[in-house]
């Protein structure tokens, strides 16, 4: 059934090990030896599946990002209202965080590598961009359906990513004072209602 050729299973097992090891100390401080040991295989074997340490790192990260994006997409499409979609988006991310803290450690690091000009960063940038484009399309449809007022869809999508990123990061760091009981509720409420008082504090003109 799930019989990915043995090869494929080992491929995945190595990625799992990579996630574990890289998340422990970061990319630079980790060594391929440790990944191999964690996977219970020989060091050389790792190189049968991945050309280099960097490729391994990116592959491990990219796999999880794809899974996460897939999960989010799937669940977002299973609910009709945009507000629910947003809640789902945030929830999937927070849940993934709880379940895969190790992945998250690397996922957050990604923000760094993305900005440095390496082939590594390139692939990650591409992935993130695609994910954001999808969310932007979801936003656009909500605007078209008048579920939300007219704003820049890509910009709002980006903001969603920013907020999710923040929530996840703070949960990982365990900064109690910056967490609110219902993070998702807080975020969606903020998004829908804003912080305005309704009185025209809001900039006129």
């Amino acid at each position: 059934m799930t019989d990915q050729s043995v090869t494929e299973r080992k491929h995945d097992a190595i990625l799992d090990a990579a996630r574990t090891v890289f998340s422990r100390e970061g990319y630079a401080a980790s060594c391929v030896d440790d990944v191999a040991a964690e996977a219970g295989i020989g060091k050389g074997t790792v190189y049968l599946y991945f050309k280099s340490k960097e490729e391994l790192y990116v592959a491990a990260l990219a796999r999880d990002i794809r899974v996460l994006a897939g999960k989010a997409r799937e669940e977002m499409e299973s609910v009709p209202a945009f507000r629910e979609k947003v809640e789902v988006f945030l929830r999937v991310r927070l849940e993934y965080c709880r379940a895969h803290e190790d992945f998250l450690r690397i996922y957050l690091s990604e923000y760094g590598s993305m900005c440095v000009n390496t082939p590594m960063g390139k692939e990650l940038r591409r992935l993130k961009r695609n994910n954001m484009k999808y969310v932007a399309s979801v936003v656009q449809k909500a605007i078209d359906r008048r579920e939300i007022r007219k704003v820049s869809a890509p910009a709002l999508a980006a903001t969603l990513f920013d907020m999710a990123h923040g929530l996840v990061e703070r949960r990982l760091l365990g900064w109690k004072e910056f967490q609110v009981r219902g993070e998702i509720a807080f975020a969606t409420d903020l998004l829908w209602q804003g912080i305005g008082t309704g009185t025209p504090t809001r900039r006129q003109r």
Copy 2:
């Protein structure tokens, strides 16, 4: 007059060089030699001012973070209304981004190192936390003064950081489709008004 003893000037010059070099290829790929060369001094001299490569990195990053936080604080305090404070907060960050793209490359990487358990991350976490606490206090005052409705002050402060982080990142990456002409206006508008239509699309609890 402002003559920070020659020593202090060299200290700063090294930090400048570190910023330049680290931003070029990232922490791992940079080497102390290059920092020394960039600073126009001997490699050994670097170690007279900083105990290790890591300390140097953190110091370079921390200095800029402090300057940035100081600038933001200063300017935020020079305007009375909270909305303006928010605009100032975002503007200072975006401006710093423009002026110090090299710093930003590292600043964004910081998000990664922060989540890995190194002494390095620790210091950075502390700094960021303090900055967020300050902004939270500003938020709280705004709430107290009824400038904005009652929300979790730390959570809103955190969200501000998240949004600024996102704006800055996207500007650095140059992702045109996720930028909006008036980023600050977009963000503050979003924050104040939300995306709701006013009609009770909003979940009625």
Copy 3:
């Protein structure tokens, strides 16, 4: 009929592949994988026929040296006069060079490995020595038959090898300015006549 059991044929095919591969980049830079690929068989199979990479290398080289020596011997014995034998000796070598440039690349390297104390060198030294002994015996007979004047037969044989070696090497390197139109004629002429003018420039005892 000449069906050397399939086994034997594969043995030879591997040697052919080895010659091709080793001549491409030299012994150190070649890898068994490539030899197997060139032979169109599995890497493990190579080890069914040869104990080690080194043995494979020596075997490939030795086979060609034996073939070359056999050819030379055969043709030398087919002509009666010593002068012709010399011409044949040189011609066979030059021809083999043209036909098997890849072999020659390794053959010339052999001079190196011969002088290093490896089992590898030992076998090659033995082979060359035997070949030289044979030529020396041919020389001796020519002296006995007064075809040439009395000189040290082994030394002259060695010199013949040296000259052949040089001719072949320069042809392989393509050093135009050190080639003469009729290399063989030049060499034999030089050998027979010397460079003396006939006038007693030649040292008198």
Copy 4:
């Protein structure tokens, strides 16, 4: 007096160590660690003076080749007659062989690397070619002065190298039966007189 800056002395010391080590087991089987140990310095230090193992190898070889060529040239120019020049040429080479057996082990290996297309081989080819050109010019002058009969100067020069190469190789290998008491005398005698009997055995055509 001989005060080459300390740097230069270390440079030379490393080359000496390289010669010793490489001659022991050949290029491939030697490792940089051993060269460093032989030189009594740290492994990293080697890399302060030479970019790579290969460069080190070539440098070690090239230095000796240059010294040898220089010695030969100098002494050849100190004697007027061509025959003496030839004797000097061979003698210098044989003497260098006796004094620097370790160099010779590598020098002879050179014949191999020369034929493989590496940057390494390139440099060595260039050196050898230049040396041969010089000898060819010496030959040409002898022809012009009617000291020897008219033959192809480059070809004769090349033959001289071939003969020297053979003499040196056989001495290194210790092949008693292919050595002759007075090797130099044998070679020059052969060169001047040839092996012909004077009677028209020589092909008439």
